[in-house]
Symmetry: C2
Subunit: 192 residues, 2 copies
């Protein structure tokens, strides 16, 4: 598989953040991990913040997706696919954990960095709108209760997922318990 | 009001974290803010991590409390007091926001710092147990439904509160919307 240098840098940045956090991120280390010269990294991303923003989008693209096309190709309901995608956010692979740490770190950094904050908020809202759109599909196919306010449910659900991930990463909930709690909440709130 | 030097240092550390995050925390700046010499800070807390741990406990003590004594002295139900305490976590004062940023930052740092992580997990679990105990009181006074698994509900609720705070601080939810979502979730899940 041929991976572009740009992508290799973003993979290296995500791995570096997962190991040491945004706090510990040095542009030089990322270049070394990716096997490129530091100047190439600045050529692609302009600055450390530019690299963080691109890593956020890269990490977001790797997260479990929810697309209406999946529903057309599947014999399962929108609720079932939504539950599967949400539980996948707390999956057991190293790649999932890495993605969670990166997201959690960029979230924390966004509190203090106005530029990152604006872009982070846009990505988070986009995710929430995608979940809301999927909830509406579930209202059409009869798997999700009609009375639910789709955007409100989506905001609640995505906030809960992020809170559970935070507690899992910080060690106050096991991943298994976090998944069980998420499933309980989903099944109590959404089905028709 | 006479404030001890130890407490002045912890107030200064919390203010410094709220301004610049744990990433930007310099022990020298905290000493300067508190008007003490750096050596006094090391005398009390031993190290930067020691200071972070003490700041976590300090910040935790400032969070809204839930004590069975409040219930005895009040003519309100356990559910009403629980709702009030949870909504207070998303209160409008600068002090609340500062506390939230400090907690969020220490949570993020705990992912990478084994010593902080252990202590952070213990504090988070203690909070969750206190909420569970209060839910049981609500089952006794008839304000919370009997079928609820108190510890499960408490873990869900505290995770949701942390996720909502995270989204508020990172700008993808307004504080008002986060509070409304929290109230909706509480009222849907807990009352008898």
């Amino acid at each position: 598989v041929k991976v572009s240098k740009r992508e290799a840098i973003l993979d290296a940045a995500a791995a570096a953040i997962a190991d040491h956090g945004v706090r510990g991120l040095r542009v030089e280390d990322v270049a070394e991990r990716a096997g490129v010269v530091v100047s190439l990294l600045y050529y692609y991303f302009g600055s450390r913040t530019g690299l963080l923003r691109a890593t956020m989008h890269h990490s977001n693209e790797r997260a479990p997706t929810l697309s209406p096309a999946d529903l057309e190709e599947s014999d399962r309901t929108a609720f079932e696919l939504l539950e599967q995608a949400m539980l996948a956010e707390l999956g057991s692979s190293d790649a999932v954990r890495q993605n969670c740490v990166v997201w959690n770190e960029l979230n924390a950094s966004a509190v203090f960095d106005p530029e990152l904050r604006k872009e982070f908020a846009a990505v988070a809202k986009k995710w929430s709108r995608e979940v809301a759109a999927f909830i509406r599909l579930g209202q059409h196919d009869g798997s999700i209760r009609d009375g639910a306010d789709a955007q409100e449910e989506a905001d609640l659900l995505t906030s809960l997922v992020e809170g559970l991930i935070m507690r899992w990463l910080a060690g106050s909930l096991t991943r298994e318990r976090a998944r069980r709690l998420l499933r309980t909440s989903l099944r109590d709130r959404l089905p028709a």
